[in-house]
C-alpha cells in the first residue's frame, strides 16, 4: 500500500457503506399507505409482510408485549413456543387451568400470525377445558375464554376469514348446541359485561353488537346464534370483498353458516317456547338468507365456480335439449330399449314390469334386480347419437356434448346440494312458516311440558293436537319425513307413547303418524328423480369440460 492508503481506505469504506445502504433501503423501507389506508408500497420486507399478511396492522396497534417477547427470545421463537406448548400440555394434564390459560396467552404473543395456534388453543379452551368443570357457569366462563382468545386473534390477524368463522362457530354452535345450551344461551343473553367485550371486538363490523341483527327474541337481548352469524358474515365479507383465502375450509359449508345460524336461531326460540309470528318471521328470514346462499358463487374442487340454485334453471334447459335431441332421432331410443328388453330373462322382465303399487312386495333381491335392469335399459346420449342418421350426425353429436356437459354440471350441483342438505332446509324454512307447522310445534311443546310435569291427560291432548297438525304438514311436504324433523318427531312420539302407556291406553288413538314414522326406508327409492336412469352408466362417459356454448350457464367467476 502506498502512503495514501489510509485516505483511500476510508473512502473505500465510506463508499462500501453507501453501497450497502442501497439494498438495505430496498429491503427495509417501511410500508407506505395511500389515503384510504391501503398499502401502496415500501421496501421488500414490508411488501413481503403485507403479502403474507404478517404486518401488525397500523403502527399505533403494535403490541409491546408481543414485540418484547419476540425480541427477548432472540430469534428462537419457534423453540420457545414449542417449549411453552409442552408446558401448556402439562398444565392441562394436571388441570392447572390458570397456568394453562396464561401459557397459551404467552405462546400466542410469540406466534401471533400462526393461525393454527389460535384455532387449536381456542378450541382447546372452549371445548376441552370447559367440560372439565362440573359447574355449568364455570364451563361457560371457559367457553368465553376460548372466544375471547379468538377475538384477540382477530385483532392480530385482520380479516382472516377462518378465524372470523371460527369465532362465529364458537359463539353459535358451542353455546347453542352444547348439553348445557339452555343455560349457556341464557347466560350469554344476560352477560352484559361480555356483550361489552364483543361489542369492542365487533366495532368494525358492518352489523355490530347493537344492530337489530344481533338481538334475539328475549327482550331484544343479543342471541348467540345471531351474534355468531354476524361473525360469519364478516368472514364471508373478508372472502368476497377482500379476496382472502379460507384455505382448506370447504367453501360450501363456509358460506352456508350465516343462513344456518338463522335457522338455528329459529329452531332455538321454538325450543324455548316462542311460537307464532315471532318464530315464523325467524324462519322467513332464514329462508330468505338460504336463497341468498343459493345464489352465492361457490368455488368447487374441480376448478369451476357454481351456484346452488343453478340446478333449477339447469333442469329446465336439460329437458329442452333432451326433447330436442329425441326429436332429431325419433324413435331411436325406444328401438334400443326394445331390443335390450328382448335380451332380458323372464324374471327380470317380470320385475321390471311390476306396477308401482305392487312393488311394495319386493324383496331386497328384487329391488336389486330391478336396479340392474334399469341400468341395462338405460340409453346414454352417446349411444343415441351413434344411431343418428349420417346427415344429422354432426349436429346430434354437438347437442349430445352440450347435454352431457349440462348433465355433469347438474350432477355436481346436486351432489353439492346434498352435502348441505340444501333441499331439506329450503323446504323446512317454507314449512315452518306455515300456520299448521307453527301450531304443530306449539302443541308439541306444550305437550312435552305437560308430560314433564306429569300432567298426562293434558299432555295427550296437546300431543294429539300436534299430530293432527303434523299430518297436514307432512301431507303437504313429504320431504320432512327425513332429516332432523323426523328425529324430532320420533322423540315426541316416544313421549306420546309413554303418555299413553301411563294412561293405560295400549293402542294409540292416533295411528297414522306412528305408521309413517315407523315405515322406515329412504323416500327416494319410490320416486327416483327422472334423470337418474338417464344418467346411469354415463357418469364417466365424458370428460369434465366447460365449453363455450352460448346456452351453457356461464361459469361464475369468483368476485375479486
Amino acid at each position: 500500500m502506498n502512503q495514501n492508503s489510509p485516505i483511500i481506505r476510508k473512502v473505500v469504506y465510506l463508499s462500501a457503506i453507501a453501497v450497502l445502504m442501497l439494498p438495505l433501503y430496498w429491503l427495509g423501507q417501511p410500508a407506505s399507505y395511500s389515503e384510504d389506508r391501503t398499502p401502496e408500497g415500501g421496501g421488500q420486507l414490508a411488501l413481503l409482510r403485507m403479502e403474507n399478511q404478517l404486518s401488525q396492522a397500523e403502527l399505533g396497534e403494535i403490541d409491546p408485549t408481543s414485540e418484547s417477547m419476540k425480541l427477548a427470545t432472540l430469534g428462537l421463537r419457534g423453540p420457545a413456543a414449542n417449549f411453552l406448548w409442552n408446558k401448556a400440555m402439562k398444565y392441562q394434564r394436571r388441570k392447572n387451568w390458570d397456568a394453562l390459560s396464561a401459557t397459551v396467552q404467552q405462546i400466542i404473543r410469540l406466534q401471533p400470525n400462526f393461525l393454527g395456534v389460535w384455532e387449536f388453543q381456542s378450541h382447546n379452551l372452549t371445548y376441552n377445558v370447559s367440560v372439565d368443570f362440573d359447574d355449568y357457569r364455570h364451563r361457560y366462563t371457559w367457553v368465553k375464554k376460548g372466544i375471547d382468545f379468538l377475538c384477540i386473534g382477530n385483532r392480530y390477524n385482520h380479516d382472516e376469514p377462518r378465524l372470523l368463522h371460527y369465532t362465529g362457530w364458537f359463539i353459535g354452535q358451542k353455546i347453542g348446541i352444547a348439553d348445557e345450551h339452555v343455560e349457556f344461551r341464557e347466560l350469554f343473553r344476560n352477560d352484559q359485561d361480555y356483550h361489552d367485550v364483543l361489542r369492542k371486538a365487533m366495532r368494525d363490523f358492518e352489523h355490530d353488537m347493537d344492530s337489530q341483527d344481533a338481538s334475539g327474541r328475549h327482550n331484544r337481548k343479543p342471541d348467540n346464534w345471531l351474534v355468531g352469524r354476524l361473525w360469519y358474515l364478516q368472514a364471508v365479507r373478508a372472502v368476497d370483498s377482500l379476496g382472502k383465502s379460507i384455505r382448506k375450509k370447504s367453501p360450501l359449508v363456509f358460506h352456508a353458516d350465516p343462513a344456518k345460524s338463522r335457522m338455528n336461531y329459529a329452531d332455538a326460540i321454538e325450543d324455548e317456547g316462542h311460537f307464532g309470528e315471532v318464530a315464523q318471521n325467524a324462519w322467513a328470514r332464514a329462508g330468505k338468507e338460504w336463497e341468498v346462499y343459493a345464489d352465492h358463487p361457490i368455488p368447487t374442487s374441480w376448478g369451476m365456480t357454481i351456484k346452488l340454485n343453478l340446478a333449477d334453471e339447469n333442469r329446465r334447459r336439460i329437458n329442452e335439449i333432451q326433447e330436442h335431441l329425441e326429436s332429431l332421432v325419433p324413435g331411436v331410443k325406444d328401438r334400443i330399449i326394445k331390443r335390450r328388453k328382448e335380451d332380458l330373462s323372464e324374471r327380470e322382465l317380470a320385475i321390471w314390469n311390476t306396477p308401482e303399487d305392487k312393488q311394495s312386495e319386493f324383496s331386497a333381491e328384487d329391488w336389486y334386480t330391478r336396479h340392474l335392469v334399469g341400468q341395462k335399459l338405460s340409453v346414454s346420449h352417446t349411444q343415441l347419437a351413434s344411431q343418428a342418421p349420417e346427415s344429422k350426425r354432426d349436429d346430434v353429436e354437438q347437442i349430445v356434448r352440450r347435454l352431457n356437459r349440462k348433465l355433469q354440471l347438474s350432477r355436481r350441483v346436486r351432489s353439492y346440494r346434498q352435502i348441505v342438505n340444501f333441499d331439506y332446509w329450503r323446504t323446512r324454512c317454507i314449512v315452518e312458516q306455515t300456520m299448521e307447522a307453527a301450531k304443530a310445534r306449539e302443541h308439541g311443546y306444550k305437550g312435552m311440558k305437560h308430560f314433564n310435569e306429569a300432567e298426562l291427560e293434558l299432555a295427550r291432548e296437546q300431543f294429539e293436537e300436534s299430530w293432527k297438525m303434523w299430518l297436514q304438514v307432512i301431507a303437504r311436504f313429504p320431504q320432512l319425513k327425513s332429516g332432523d324433523t323426523r328425529d324430532e318427531l320420533l322423540k315426541q312420539m316416544q313421549s306420546y307413547k309413554m303418555t299413553l302407556t301411563h294412561l293405560g291406553e295400549e293402542q294409540p288413538s292416533f295411528v297414522d303418524p306412528l305408521e309413517w314414522l315407523d315405515s322406515t326406508g329412504p323416500i327416494d327409492t319410490k320416486n327416483p328423480p327422472s334423470d337418474m336412469i338417464l344418467n346411469a352408466g354415463e357418469s364417466t362417459d365424458e370428460p369434465a369440460s366447460s365449453g363455450a356454448d352460448d346456452d351453457d350457464p356461464p361459469p361464475v367467476e369468483p368476485k375479486k
Binding site: 404467552q106 368443570f133 359447574d135
Partner: protein, 635 residues
C-alpha cells in the same frame, strides 16, 4: 389445589435423611480416595501414592479446624466488593423493569390473578437471582487465577476451604440482599397489583329503600378489573348495633365486604379491598384411604381415564367412599367446630342435573367401633369442582346412639374423637357419578398465618436454591475456567431441575435393553414415575430429530448402529441420572406452589429444605477444598 408431594414430619425425616446422607458421603469419600489413589499411583508409584493421598486427606482436618472467621469474612467482603464491581445491581434494575411491565404479561382475565401474580414474581426472582449467582460464582475464582491476584492470597496463611467459603459467603450475601429487596418489592407488587375496590351498581337511596321494604337488597357491584360481584345487603345486629352489611360472592378468587354506615343523608358505602385472596392457610391433613363399591379397601380408587393419576375416584350410590383419618384433632384447637375445606373433583358418566353439583355426604366416624356413638348423621353437600368448598361442622352434631337407636345431639369432641383421632368419611350419593380426591384435597383449616410471612418463606426457597447454585458454581470454578465452569454448573442445574424427565428417559432407554431391564425396575420404583418416556437417549434423539422419526416406533437404522447408539445412550443416561440424582432436588426447594395456592409453607418442610441445603453445601465445600488444595495455582 394440587400438592403433589408428601411432607413428612421433620422428626420422622431427619433420622433417615441423615443416615442416607452419611452412607452416601461415606461411599463417595471412599470412591474419591480410591480414584485419587489410582491416579497418584500412576504418577508416583503405589507406595508414594498411598502416602500422598493419606497426607492430603489427613491435612484436611486441621485445615478445617483452623478455619478463621476473620479470614473467611475478609474474603467474603472482597467477593462482595467484586460482585458490586460487576454491577449486580443491574439485575435489580431489570427486576424493577420487569415488575413495571409485568401487567402486560399476566393473563388479565385469569380466574385466580393472585396465583399468577405470585408465581410470576417468584419465577422472575429465581431466574434473575439464580442466573446472577451462577455468573458471579463461576467467574470469580478463575478470574482471580487468571489475573494472578490469587497469588497474593494463597501465599498468605489462607486455607483453601477459607477461600471457597469466603467466596460463597460473599456471593450469597449479595444474593441474599438482592432476594430481600426483590422479596419486598414483590410483596408490594402483589398486594398493590391485586388491590382494587368496586362501587355498587345501584344508587344508595334505592338500596336503602329496598332494605327498608324487603329487609335486604340484592344487586351487583360495578365491573372493575375484569370482573364484577353480586351481593346481598342485609340489616344485621352486631354487638347491639344495627348495621347494613354483606359479603360479595367469590369472583376471581376473592370477596369484598360491604358496609353501609350512617343514616339518611350521611349514609355511605364502604367496600373493602379484596379479601380471602392472599392467604396462608395452615392445613391439617388426614390420611386418605379408598374403598371400592363393595366396601372393600382399594389401593388408589378408580381411574376414570385421566392421564394424571393424582386423584382416585369412588363410585356414587355404592359403598365406595373416601376415608380421611385425622391424627390429631383437639378441642382446644377447634373450640367451635371443625372448619373443613373440600376440593372434591367430579366425574359424571351421565348428564344428571346440569344446573347443580353432584350430591355427597360427609360423616364423622369414631375409629373406636365400640363407642356409644359410632358416626354422626351424614351432612349433605354439593360438590363444587375446582373451587374450595368450605364446610364448617359445628361442635354439636346429631348422631345415632348405638344402644338406644335415638338420634341425640352430641359434642363431637366428646363422642366421636377418640385420642385425637377422627375419621371423616365422604361418599357420593348419586348413582353413576363419581367423586375424585387426593390426599391433599380434604383438610382442616387449623389456622391462618399472615400472608407476608408465608411470602417470605416462599422466598426462603429461592434463597436456598441460590445458596446451592452459588456453592456449586464456586466448586466447579476451583477446577475449571470461568465459562466452562458456568456451562458445567448450568448443565448440572438443568439436570437437577429435569430430574423426573431424566429418570423417565433413563427408564425408557433401559426398557429397550433386556439385559439391563432389571435396572429399569429399580429406577422406576425408586421414583414412582408415571410412565416411561419414549424416543430414547441423547444419541438416539440426535438421529431421530433430523430424520423425523416418530418416537413411538423403534429406531429405523441399521441394527448394528441401533445397538451402538443404544449402548452409548445407556452410558450417557447413567451419567445424567447419577448427576441429576446426586444433587438435591432444586425443584423441591421451590415453595411457590404453596404460596400461590394460599397454603402456609410447612415449617417442618422448611427445616428439611434448610438441612438438605446445608448438607449439600458442606459436601460441595469439602469437594472444592480438595480441588483447590491439589491444584497448582500457578500452572
Amino acid at each position: 389445589m394440587t400438592l403433589d408431594f408428601e411432607i413428612t414430619p421433620f422428626g420422622d425425616w431427619v433420622g433417615i435423611a441423615l443416615l442416607s446422607f452419611g452412607i452416601t458421603v461415606l461411599i463417595g469419600a471412599l470412591l474419591a480416595a480410591f480414584l485419587s489413589y489410582v491416579f497418584c499411583a500412576i504418577r508416583h508409584g503405589p507406595i508414594e501414592a498411598f502416602y500422598i493421598v493419606g497426607q492430603t486427606g489427613a491435612a484436611a482436618i486441621p485445615d478445617f479446624i483452623a478455619t478463621s472467621p476473620r479470614r473467611v469474612i475478609a474474603i467474603a467482603r472482597l467477593a462482595a466488593k467484586e460482585a458490586m464491581r460487576r454491577r449486580v445491581w443491574v439485575s435489580l434494575v431489570v427486576f424493577f423493569i420487569v415488575l413495571l411491565y409485568a401487567q402486560w404479561f399476566l393473563d388479565q382475565g385469569s380466574e385466580h390473578p393472585g396465583k399468577l401474580h405470585i408465581a410470576f414474581v417468584m419465577t422472575a426472582t429465581s431466574y434473575l437471582v439464580l442466573g446472577l449467582s451462577l455468573f458471579l460464582s463461576t467467574f470469580s475464582l478463575p478470574d482471580d487465577i487468571k489475573n494472578r491476584t490469587i497469588y497474593t492470597v494463597v501465599t498468605k496463611p489462607v486455607r483453601p476451604n477459607e477461600i471457597v467459603m469466603g467466596r460463597i459467603l460473599g456471593f450469597a450475601g449479595i444474593g441474599s440482599l438482592l432476594i430481600l429487596v426483590m422479596c419486598l418489592a414483590s410483596l408490594a407488587f402483589v398486594v398493590r397489583g391485586l388491590h382494587h375496590t368496586h362501587t355498587l351498581s345501584s344508587d344508595l337511596n334505592i338500596i336503602l329503600q329496598d332494605i327498608e321494604t324487603d329487609g335486604f337488597w340484592q344487586g351487583q357491584t360495578t365491573f372493575d378489573h375484569h370482573h364484577r360481584h353480586s351481593i346481598r345487603l342485609e340489616r344485621k345486629t352486631i354487638d347491639g348495633e344495627s348495621v347494613i352489611e354483606g359479603q360479595t360472592d367469590l369472583a376471581m378468587g376473592h370477596v369484598h365486604t360491604v358496609q353501609v354506615t350512617g343514616d339518611g343523608e350521611d349514609a355511605r358505602v364502604i367496600i373493602s379491598g379484596p379479601e380471602d385472596q392472599l392467604l396462608a392457610r395452615v392445613p391439617m391433613f388426614g390420611e386418605l384411604s379408598f374403598f371400592a363399591r363393595d366396601g372393600k379397601p382399594s389401593k388408589e380408587g378408580i381411574n376414570v381415564g385421566e392421564e394424571w393419576g393424582y386423584r382416585g375416584y369412588i363410585e356414587g350410590g355404592s359403598l365406595g367412599r373416601f376415608e380421611f383419618d385425622f391424627p390429631d384433632v383437639k378441642a382446644k384447637d377447634f373450640p367451635d367446630g371443625l372448619p373443613f375445606e373440600l376440593n372434591i373433583s367430579v366425574f359424571r358418566t351421565h348428564k344428571g342435573t346440569i344446573t347443580r353439583g353432584i350430591l355427597g355426604t360427609i360423616s364423622l366416624v369414631n375409629i373406636d367401633p365400640n363407642s356409644e356413638y359410632v358416626q354422626s348423621s351424614p351432612i349433605h353437600f354439593n360438590a363444587t369442582e375446582f373451587v374450595v368448598d368450605k364446610k364448617f361442622i359445628p361442635r354439636k352434631i346429631g348422631a345415632r346412639n348405638r344402644k338406644t337407636g335415638e338420634i341425640d345431639e352430641i359434642d363431637l369432641f366428646d363422642e366421636l374423637v377418640s385420642d385425637g383421632k377422627l375419621r371423616v368419611v365422604i361418599q357420593c350419593s348419586e348413582r353413576g357419578q363419581y367423586f375424585g380426591a387426593a390426599q391433599r384435597d380434604v383438610y382442616l383449616r387449623a389456622a391462618d398465618q399472615p400472608f407476608w410471612s408465608n411470602f417470605i418463606k416462599g422466598f426462603m426457597g429461592i434463597w436456598l436454591q441460590m445458596l446451592i447454585v452459588t456453592t456449586l458454581g464456586v466448586t466447579f470454578s476451583t477446577l475449571l475456567s470461568g465459562p466452562v465452569a458456568m456451562m458445567v454448573s448450568s448443565g448440572v442445574i438443568v439436570l437437577g431441575l429435569c430430574r423426573g424427565f431424566i429418570d423417565q428417559v433413563f427408564g425408557g432407554v433401559l426398557d429397550k435393553n433386556n439385559v439391563l431391564s432389571f435396572l429399569r425396575g429399580i429406577v422406576m420404583r425408586e421414583h414412582e414415575l408415571e410412565g416411561v418416556a419414549h424416543g430414547g437417549g441423547p444419541l438416539e434423539s440426535i438421529i431421530r430429530i433430523p430424520s423425523q422419526q416418530n418416537v413411538m416406533i423403534d429406531l429405523d437404522a441399521m441394527p448394528w448402529l441401533t445397538n451402538i447408539v443404544q449402548f452409548v445412550d445407556i452410558g450417557l443416561m447413567a451419567v445424567m441420572y447419577a448427576v441429576a440424582n446426586g444433587l438435591p432436588n432444586l425443584g423441591r426447594l421451590n415453595n411457590s406452589v404453596f404460596v400461590a395456592q394460599g397454603f402456609n409453607v410447612d415449617n417442618s418442610l422448611l427445616a428439611q429444605q434448610c438441612l438438605t441445603t446445608a448438607a449439600c453445601c458442606s459436601v460441595l465445600i469439602v469437594i472444592s477444598y480438595f480441588c483447590l488444595k491439589t491444584r497448582e495455582i500457578a500452572a
